[in-house]
């Protein structure tokens, strides 16, 4: 980042200005945007050092790293926006290993013509989310593509974290007999996005559940260090995430429909839109698989946390060479809860 003398620079017009090709050209306009927007919002020692990379001391133990690109449409939705979502998404991916997330990077692809006012709103929302999570954004990049070649803004974030000793959480550790828990109501994010899409004219009060889950995870790991698997059911929802774990671990699962928490508004909206809440995305929920004797302890820990107030035990793991995820319906029948086929919702995260 260059040290431009403020006196000779006309400040960026965040009110009426728009992104243009010079903002990605590596010249003065780009330096100015970085300084007045990204540095001002994310403000920390690493960014102020103005290097092309962030340098930090490495802790002993195991590190984890995760990356996530965000292309959600619309960019602003009830309960959040692409900015906070891009922080929460990666913080959660790191946290699902039981790790404490330490640092984030952020990479922006901006479309020529995108209003700077919207960009500012997004960046400030990111900064707020990062500060709230206590995970600084220490390095980043900005590129601009010509009009029509992007969709406003795409954000890729990468995170690193450190796993506490004695914690070994992985999608291949679900064992027959294990209990399956979920941290709260399902489908809120996907339905909030769907309701916002202009073509539907569908009004609801449903808010996205986007949230950073690492604090909840820290409490859970503290209570029960030997959690077998954790995962946030984002795209594809609960159904797809459980199928991933069943395949990784080589097991089957049996869920109990009546136990799965779904908000009544979400259920009604899904009914109306022809969606199944089990396949709708979440951005602030996690699935936890643990030994049956630990389940109640974990449930209590989750319920004591604001992000796990509606936690529930929803099923169990069993042996099954076919790795089917099945469900006892509220009706008394049985069925498969299969992988998501096709796409339920366009661009939800």
């Amino acid at each position: 980042m260059s040290n431009v003398r403020k006196g000779y620079i006309r400040p960026v017009d965040f009110k009426h200005g728009r992104v243009d090709m010079t903002h990605g050209s590596g010249g003065r306009a780009m330096a100015q945007l970085i300084e007045e927007l990204f540095l001002a919002a994310f403000d920390n020692d690493w960014l102020r050092a103005a290097n092309d990379q962030a340098c930090f001391a490495v802790q002993s133990g195991r590190m984890v790293m995760a990356t996530d690109s965000h292309v959600v449409s619309p960019l602003f939705f009830p309960g959040g926006d692409i900015g906070c979502l891009s922080v929460h998404g990666t913080v959660n991916d790191v946290a699902m290993s039981g790790a404490k997330p330490l640092y984030l990077s952020a990479s922006f692809i901006l479309e020529e013509g995108f209003p700077l006012a919207d960009l500012k709103r997004i960046v400030e929302s990111m900064a707020h989310a990062a500060r709230e999570a206590g995970v600084p954004i220490v390095t980043g990049d900005t590129k601009v593509v010509e009009q029509g070649k992007g969709d406003g803004v795409f954000i890729t974030t990468t995170g690193v974290g450190v796993v506490p000793d004695g914690v070994n959480i992985s999608g291949d550790r679900a064992r027959p007999g294990d209990t399956i828990l979920v941290s709260g109501t399902l489908g809120d994010h996907g339905v909030a996005i769907m309701a916002q899409r202009e073509s539907l004219g569908f009004e609801t009060t449903i808010q996205s559940d986007t949230a950073a889950l690492h604090d909840l995870v820290a409490r859970m790991v503290e209570a029960v260090p030997d959690i077998h698997a954790l995962r946030d059911p984002t795209r594809g929802g609960l159904a797809t995430t459980l199928n991933e774990i069943a395949r990784q671990s080589g097991v089957g699962m049996m869920l109990r429909e009546e136990a799965i928490p779904v908000r009544q508004e979400v259920e009604a909206a899904c009914e109306f839109l022809g969606l199944d809440p089990l396949y709708v995305a979440n951005e602030g929920k996690l699935i936890c698989i643990c030994a049956p004797e630990q389940a109640n302890r974990l449930l209590e820990t989750m319920r004591a946390h604001p992000l796990g107030a509606n936690a529930a035990i929803i099923g169990a793991v069993h042996e099954d060479p076919h790795h089917f995820v099945q469900m006892e319906t509220a009706f008394g029948g049985k069925r498969i809860v299969d992988w998501l086929t096709g796409e339920q919702l366009p661009r939800i995260c």
Binding site: L200, R256, G315, H322, E328, F331, G333, D338, T341
Partner: protein, 405 residues
């Protein structure tokens, strides 16, 4: 969700299941066809066959609008979108239906065709208003339920003086399809498809009423019970059909009386009659050419008819030889009897149309029921319940439907 949950209540389901079990006669079998894909979906999704005695067989009928759409018609739509520069608007289910040359509307979209998914005909109309410089074609499919909204959109377009909106009409008629099944040699002569009774359509009947089915009950002596799409509706309808069959009656009964009358929705019928007329014949996937089974746009509204504006020529295309969709749609075979099922043909890569829509018999069985085909040892569902074998032996056990806790 009030008014819906009541029709999904597990306790009531077990009461009805007990009544069905008590009233079915051990010395006979009951072959019941649910015509509609909506019923097929409910049966699979809620696992209803687990609640029924073994001698009741549910046969999935052809009432899935996407499944019966012939390949040639989708080829026509793809041609419009890919080669004629139109915005093609259609319902989401249509997008993945496999057509000729390995294409589907979704794949055509990836090759640059402007294909838009809409939730209603009104959305398609709005596309035409918002894009006055483009031709917008609404690829209209479906049974009597989706036909009135198409008529409304067309009449609206006329009122608004829209010059860039046309409808590619593929609307089909339920009673003609039922008659075709009943007249088919398999049912009428050979008896290879035993068919004792029908669960009548839910949404279709809200439009056409219950009266059109009276002919089937009288002429073919097949009882019909019109039922809603909720699982309890289906259970109740099965009980009513079992009673009719036991008593030797063949009547039209209406389980879905909260929405269906004998006359149906007269206003909707008038709208349809204003805009559409019968086609002499129309090809159905699985049923071949069925006389007077579909609608076309009247000459009076030719300006809004995509077939006329674009000179669409229909060419029949045969299904993949190994695909059993035809036999499955006629109730001759079950999805798992098809060699392609679950191997070459999956929901991700459907070969046949029954695998495309969630209402299709193959997709429903693949998505919800294929664990039954697995030869694996039965899983232990939960600490408080026995395995599947135990369940099957006593579907009405007080533990059925309960498990983890």
């Amino acid at each position: 969700m009030k008014y819906i949950d009541e029709f999904r209540d597990g306790k009531t389901a077990r009461v009805i299941a007990a009544a069905i079990a008590a009233e079915t006669r051990a010395d006979r079998r009951y072959h019941i066809m649910e015509f509609c894909g909506g019923h097929t979906h409910a049966i699979s999704r809620y696992g209803l066959s687990d609640l029924l005695p073994d001698n009741i067989r549910l046969i999935h009928g052809p009432g899935c609008p996407v499944c019966v759409l012939p390949i040639g018609r989708i080829d026509n739509a793809i041609d419009l979108a890919l080669n004629r520069g139109v915005i093609l608007a259609t319902y989401g289910d249509c997008l993945r239906v496999p057509a000729s040359g390995g294409l589907s509307l979704l794949k055509a979209k990836a090759r640059g065709a402007d294909v838009r998914m809409v939730y209603s005909s009104a959305d398609a109309l709005k596309l035409a208003q918002d894009n006055p410089e483009r031709e917008v074609v609404f690829f209209a499919i479906g049974f009597e339920t989706t036909t009135p909204p198409t008529a409304v959109a067309l009449l609206q377009a006329e009122k608004l003086g829209l010059k860039n909106f046309t409808v590619f009409c593929n609307h089909v008629l339920t009673p003609s399809a039922i008659a075709n099944i009943l007249e088919s040699p398999e049912v009428r002569l050979h008896g290879t498809v035993p068919l004792d009774a029908f669960i009548g359509p839910a949404h279709v009947s809200t439009v056409i009423g219950s009266q059109p089915y009276e002919h089937f009950a009288e002429e073919y002596e097949k009882p019909v019970v019109i039922a809603g799409f909720e699982p309890l509706d289906v259970m109740q309808a099965i009980l009513m059909l079992v009673r009719q069959l036991n008593e030797g009656r063949a009547e039209v009964e209406n389980e879905f009386s909260r929405a269906v009358t004998r006359e149906g929705n007269v206003k909707a019928q008038q709208l349809v009659a204003e805009v559409f007329e019968l086609r002499k014949s129309f090809e159905w996937r699985g049923l071949n050419e069925v006389p007077y089974s579909a609608l076309r746009i009247k000459a009076k509204y030719a300006a809004f008819d995509a077939e006329r504006r674009f000179g669409i020529e229909y060419k029949s295309v045969a299904d993949n030889k190994a695909c059993e969709c035809g036999a499955i749609l006629r109730g001759l075979k079950r999805p798992q009897d098809c060699k392609l099922f679950g191997t070459v043909c999956t929901p991700e890569n459907p070969m046949g149309s029954c695998m495309v829509s969630s209402e299709g018999a193959c997709a429903a069985h693949y998505t919800y029921g294929r664990y039954k085909d697995a030869t694996a040892p039965s899983p232990r569902p939960s600490p408080r319940e026995g395995g599947e074998r135990e369940r099957k032996a006593d579907p009405l056990s007080p533990l059925a439907g309960r498990g983890l806790g």
